[in-house]
């Protein structure tokens, strides 16, 4: 157990280092960062001046050491747009992204489990086909389009929810529904197929032979054993949402999370802020993966930590 934990931790640290190297290479070695940050009408003189001031004339390895030393201390330089350290600007946006991602995942899981189980209990009926079709559609629509359509129908025409913004429960509904569509489809399908698998096993037949109610058979036996792939997929979906899929929904609904901040940084050519944003989201994803790896054993005692 201890060995497994240490190894996972080492992998996580290696991943964080990998993310920081990638961020550095992308923002320093491909393309010209100074050109990206300056407005189009800047003179050659201003260009040279900024290049010197930000240290881009130093050799690449010196720049990297400076970048790495800064990243360890949480110092990514000052945001050009806000004129203040970049890291706190990113951190203050995190709660909004977390709220959105967790709300969407909660919605997806809460809907997917009953839908998937119902479909598995009545395979090849209209109910099953409807579930399959619905989950397929959920996976196929582009989230930016779904968001715009929901705004058009429920905010503009019906006036039930706000078109954009942040603060109340009403603001959360449409973005969370939009973000939940794809995970909902995929989780419903995995709930259906893994429940179907478990229902065909001997222990289910044995439980029925013992005279247990259908409810006890499904809730107490089949679903419990079907939980492992469901939990695995849900964890993976949550990582996926946080790893960038909130960006589009945040832009569509003006939701002030890290994704919208990244887009603002791009629009304002604010590289230090963008670097900090990508780095923090990368660390978040690594941390979440670590957490998921560690919880596997709790759900499935058969998994040995080796």
């Amino acid at each position: 157990m201890a060995g497994y934990l240490i190894r996972r931790l080492v992998y996580a640290v290696a991943s964080v280092i990998g993310v920081s190297i990638a961020v550095f290479i992308i923002t320093h070695a491909i393309g010209d960062p100074v050109k990206v940050m300056l407005p189009l009408d800047a003179s050659q003189e201003q260009y040279e001046q900024m290049r010197q001031a930000l240290g881009f004339n130093d050799p690449l390895h010196v720049q990297f050491l400076r970048f790495a030393a800064g990243a360890i201390r949480g110092d990514f330089g000052d945001s050009l747009w806000q004129r203040s350290p970049a890291l706190p600007l990113v951190l203050e946006r995190l709660p909004a992204t977390f709220l959105l991602a967790f709300a969407a995942m909660a919605l997806a899981v809460v809907l997917a489990i009953p839908l998937g189980v119902l479909a598995a209990l009545r395979p090849r009926t209209w109910l099953d086909h409807l579930c399959s079709l619905g989950s397929l559609l959920g996976m196929c629509v582009a989230s930016n389009w779904l968001g715009l359509m929901l705004i058009l129908i429920f905010a503009v025409n019906l006036g039930w929810f706000y078109t954009s913004g942040y603060g109340t429960w009403n603001h959360l509904v449409l973005p969370a529904v939009t973000l939940a569509a794809a995970p909902l489809g995929r989780i419903t399908q995995i709930v259906r197929s893994s429940t179907l698998d478990e229902l065909g096993r001997n222990y289910v037949t044995a439980a029925r032979a013992r005279g247990l109610t259908e409810r006890a058979v499904i809730m107490g036996h089949a679903l419990k054993n079907a939980a492992i792939p469901i939990v695995t997929l849900s964890g993976w979906e949550l990582t996926r949402l946080l790893a960038g899929f909130t960006v589009i929904v945040e832009v569509v609904f003006g939701w002030p999370g890290v994704g919208l901040l990244a887009m603002d940084a791009i629009r304002r050519q604010d590289l230090p802020l963008l670097q900090a944003d990508v780095f923090i989201v990368g660390v978040l994803v690594v941390g979440l993966n670590l957490l998921i790896d560690l919880t596997y054993g709790w759900f499935d005692p058969r998994i040995r930590y080796t």
Binding site: A142, V156, V251, I266
Partner: protein
């Protein structure tokens, strides 16, 4: 004498009976035979057939775009934001069947042209990631040891990247356009191929036929190409089709965020972001491009579902029951 031993055999088989002739034909044209079997299987699966026909239709429209959708960049301010109609100035005109956008350009033509972008990006990116990822996965799975460790650590580290944000960062550094968007998507898309191919190769390496090949002295290269690669075709193809759907959605997302295709070119994601400002006045600006994305991805996913059932014996068993498996 042009008659080879094979021809003689074929003649004899034909004389014996149609069943044996088919067996011989199967041996003679294994690929054609496989293709025929696959097509027969496809025709028997309604969902897959709809997916295949729909996807073929989209490819056909994309290829025919210069002839059927030539007006995609023609501005006509008199038709600005005009609703879907089949008659323009009293004459029949299908170009405006889905309405016109804020510059009076026909939505239908722009959607058809947009399909070229989606398919180019999708097929181009998947071709590269598929090749790169599969080769690395095969190396890792076949050789094991430190090769495996190095490649799989690399895969793990890159999987932890926030993909869309990294792609956006790459695009602001390189400048947003079609080629750079494809590069950004390629960098983020090869890991799944490496991971799956490694897994399959690992199990194939322990199979009796690979061990037998090694015993009779086959080289590594021969084992990989003659014995392992043919067994990897179906899993690779299945992931490739699913990745195609994912990349098309990613292209729409990047272009929507303004970091992909630039105007006056046409792309489904770009149309969504253009139409957003006029959404309350003209719903057709955002509705139809989104429908095009959803239909394309839907058709591809329907095909992927079938491919999975063809390549995975377990799935096949579930679908057809014991008689086929």
């Amino acid at each position: 004498m042009a008659t080879t031993l094979r021809d003689l055999k074929l003649d004899r088989a034909a004389a014996v009976g149609p069943a044996e002739a088919e067996q011989v034909a199967e041996r003679r044209y294994p690929w054609l035979h496989l293709l025929r079997e696959l097509l027969a299987d496809l025709a028997g699966d309604r969902v897959a057939l709809v997916g295949a026909l729909g996807f073929a239709l989209i490819i056909g429209l994309a290829l025919a775009a210069p002839w059927i959708a030539q007006d995609y960049a023609r501005q006509n301010l008199r038709l600005r934001l005009s609703a879907p109609t089949l008659t323009v100035q009293g004459e029949f005109n299908y170009h405006y069947a889905l309405g016109a956008d804020q510059l009076g350009r026909p939505i239908l033509d722009r959607i058809i042209h947009g399909s070229r972008v989606s398919l180019t990006v999708g097929l181009g990116v998947v071709a590269v990631t598929c090749l790169f990822g599969s080769v690395l996965g095969m190396l890792a799975g076949y050789f094991g040891g430190w090769v495996d460790t190095v490649i799989m650590r690399w895969v793990d580290i890159q999987t932890a990247f926030p993909g869309l944000l990294v792609a956006l960062t790459i695009l602001i550094m390189l400048g947003p356009n079609l080629e750079n968007m494809m590069i950004a998507l390629m960098i983020n898309g090869w890991m799944i191929f490496a991971r799956i191919v490694r897994g399959v190769t690992l199990s194939l390496r322990e199979e009796v036929f690979v061990k037998a090949a090694r015993v009779i002295g086959s080289s590594d290269l021969r084992i990989v190409f003659r014995h392992i690669l043919p067994n990897l075709v179906s899993p690779i193809l299945t992931i490739a089709v699913m990745e195609l759907a994912r990349i098309i959605l990613a292209e729409a997302a990047l272009s929507f965020l303004g970091m992909g295709i630039q105007p006056p070119e046409s792309s489904w994601g770009l149309m969504l972001s253009d139409g957003r400002d006029y959404m309350t006045k003209a719903w057709w600006l955002v509705t139809f491009p989104g429908v095009a994305i959803a239909l394309t991805v839907l058709f591809i996913n329907m095909l992927a579902g079938w491919l999975r059932s063809v390549s995975d014996p377990q799935q096949r068993f579930k679908k057809f029951g014991a008689k086929e498996a």
